[in-house]
């Protein structure tokens, strides 16, 4: 996954993000929402990690915490060996050139009173890259990369469709030539026939520009196309992580299996046999003891409510396949 000797592009170590809940007369902190509760992973140069999970699992918060749009509560984010989380304000601005983000909502992600050219140019202006002429030229270049013509430069976001706005957002993210992009549900808000267009674009960026992605989605079908590796999140933790083909062929964690089985298949002859989970997702303010999934797990055992399962590599043939589940932990 990472070249021997060189640090991988991104290393996330025990990242946590808790949000305080204030209550009472004096606004004291009464509880913590454990949105991200200890996450570890690595992404190599040009590789894509697909992060999948349902609402409330913390995947969006994780994406933003990596970029320090939410300041992490604890843990480390290393970008090419540099500790991104320890940078002071000035150094952080300079380092922001290396990581960018694409958002889910095409309607809220572009400033309504700025033109397309202004939106795409802004990163170049902030970091003072090139002369004004060069910047204008770069804007046209970027529009071309995302498949839009120069005539859109002076138009406003509201004049475009969702798919086009996403392309503009992608052009903006590419402006600083980042090595790593966090894509937070970039196609979820688009029409189904447009989703493939944007996914193809992202795959092209991977291939031709060697950009690494953290691709966040709730949709396992979407994520398969662009990812090299997939991480499954539940209540702030990664419960399974494997190469993409391995995950779909042989999912190990009971939650992953339930998730995969629940996806409706557009084929009337193959009705899905959903593993029906009991109850609802617990609140991240009050995660269950031990394994967070044990309250809904069809295979829960006694130990699952007592101890948090360690992450075990059950992969074979040199492929890593991490699972956090007591079904796989070695006998004590």
């Amino acid at each position: 996954m990472s070249e021997v000797g060189n640090p991988p592009l991104l290393q996330v170590r025990d990242l946590k993000k808790y949000f305080p809940v204030r209550g009472g007369l004096l606004h004291r902190v009464t509880a913590q929402v454990r949105a991200v509760d200890g996450v570890d992973f690595e992404i190599g140069h040009g590789r894509t990690l697909g992060l999948v999970g349902e609402s409330g699992c913390g995947k969006s918060t994780l994406g933003r915490a990596i970029l320090r749009l939410h300041e992490p509560t604890s843990g480390q984010v290393l970008l090419e060996g540099v500790d991104f989380t320890a940078l002071d304000r000035k150094a952080l601005v300079a380092e922001r050139r290396r990581v960018q983000i694409i958002f889910q909502d095409p309607f809220a992600s572009l400033s309504p009173r700025r033109t397309v050219a202004q939106i795409i140019r802004e990163p170049l202006d902030v970091h003072r890259i090139g002369t004004p002429d060069e910047r204008a030229h770069r804007v046209l270049e970027l529009l071309d990369v995302v498949g839009m013509g120069p005539e859109v430069r002076d138009r406003y976001p509201h004049e475009f469709s969702g798919g086009q706005r996403q392309r503009i957002g992608i052009a903006r993210a590419l402006a600083l030539s980042p090595k790593f992009i966090v894509a937070d549900e970039p196609v979820s808000a688009l029409d189904v026939s447009v989703q493939s267009q944007v996914l193809n674009l992202i795959a092209k960026l991977k291939r031709e520009h060697g950009i690494a992605f953290l691709f966040i989605s709730h949709d396992l079908a979407v994520i398969q196309h662009v990812s090299d590796e997939i991480g499954v999140m539940y209540l702030g933790r990664i419960v399974e992580r494997a190469a993409v083909d391995d995950l779909y062929r042989e999912p190990k964690h009971p939650y992953t299996r339930a998730l995969l089985s629940a996806i409706p298949v557009p084929d009337p002859n193959r009705k899905s046999q959903p593993v029906v989970l009991f109850g609802d997702v617990p609140s991240p303010m009050n995660p269950p003891s031990g394994c967070p999934f044990h309250t809904r797990c069809p295979e829960a055992m006694a130990i699952c409510s007592e101890r948090r399962p360690p992450v075990i590599d059950v992969g074979s043939d040199g492929h890593t396949h991490d699972v956090a589940c007591h079904l796989f932990s070695p006998a004590p």
Binding site: D191, V192, D219, V265, V281
Partner: protein, 335 residues
């Protein structure tokens, strides 16, 4: 499809227009279809195709102004809903025909308990006393799979999860035993595991209540799992109306073919590039002459650009398509 029964719902040549500041938009343009008792029909299409407007017009919920039903008939067991006055329509809504919506958070009133909201419906339509209504509400809640319904009935919407709220909506919609349930994207806002639960519930209840269901969605997977018939809409028109097997195995309209291919799905072999439908949905204010899909169609001919195709039976079967150059069986690339 049972052919000896008469349809519970018959939509004939429905036209719905909206006046916008840029002109008049025909959201629904000459739409006709039938729904039979105890049948689930999927109304499929992307945003702007008119499926939600069709659903709303069945219940007389088109905001007017700016919208209005221009012409056509909506026959529910013989009664034309399009001609009914508002008071008469109010009697029918909830008791003969019901609707559930996409956003459970905003569909339930946050300042009343769910019990209160259900009791309102029951007392209005079934003329029960408050105590009888409460008992009926609790029974309904347990039927939709809500645990400890006698406690939940006194809770407020914000105390329930999204999946639960959706079930409450279903309970409310079914509490008066309607003949037809219109479900507008009922699971789109839910997680996929919750979606599976809710769809299972709808299926079960449909059997139990002998209801017809119109399921409005953009998700072909959901259609394949729950519907017996699929109606595909594009730019306000029905372009294909076929049995589920027909729709998925022998799609007739090039748009349906393109949709089935381009929708992201889990594949056993990964592709370098996903197939796409080129171009974009045309602006409803500037519709082209001829077929509305012509600009994006891989089977387009000159005739298609000039003459708009009419919905017709395909080779005498019970599958209908509006296309001059429909796809023959097996022509669609296998995925």
């Amino acid at each position: 499809m049972p052919t000896d029964q008469s349809p519970v719902l018959s939509v004939r040549n429905l036209v719905v227009e909206f006046s916008t500041e840029n002109g008049i938009v025909r959201a629904v343009d000459d739409v006709s279809f039938d729904v039979y008792p105890n049948e689930t029909v999927g109304l499929v299409g992307e945003s702007g195709c008119g499926k939600t407007v069709t659903g709303l017009s069945l219940l007389g919920l088109i905001p007017s102004p700016p919208g209005r039903i221009v012409s056509g008939q909506i026959l529910l067991d013989g009664t034309d809903l399009a001609t009914l006055t508002e008071p008469k329509m109010r009697e029918i809504r909830g008791s003969e025909i019901s609707m559930i919506f996409q956003e459970p958070m905003t569909a339930l009133n946050p300042v009343f308990t769910i019990g209160n909201q259900m009791i309102d419906v029951l007392m209005c339509h079934r003329r029960l006393t408050r105590r009888q209504s409460r008992a009926a509400a609790i029974e309904m809640l347990s039927k939709v799979g809500i645990p400890v319904p006698d406690q939940r009935v006194d809770e407020y919407p914000h105390q329930l999860s999204g999946g639960m709220r959706q079930r409450v909506m279903i309970a409310m919609a079914l509490s008066c035993d309607p003949k037809l349930l219109v479900a507008d994207e009922p699971t789109t806002a839910l997680d996929v595991t919750t979606q599976a639960q809710v769809l299972e519930q709808i299926n079960k209840l449909q059997d139990e209540f002998h209801m017809a269901v119109i399921l409005i969605t953009h998700d072909l997977g959901v259609v394949a799992e729950t519907c017996r018939r699929g109606i595909v809409m594009y730019c306000g028109r029905v372009i294909e109306n076929a049995s589920i097997e027909g729709l998925f195995e022998r799609p007739l309209h090039p748009y349906t073919v393109g949709l089935l291919e381009s929708i992201p799905r889990i594949r056993t072999e990964r592709l370098v590039e996903l197939p796409i439908i080129p171009g974009r949905v045309p602006n409803l204010l500037h519709l082209p002459d001829g077929c509305r899909f012509a600009g994006r169609c891989f089977k387009v001919s000159d005739h298609c650009r000039r003459v708009s195709p009419v919905l017709q039976s395909y080779e005498g079967s019970t599958d209908y398509v509006a296309c001059h150059t429909p796809c023959r069986a097996r022509e669609a690339a296998n995925v």
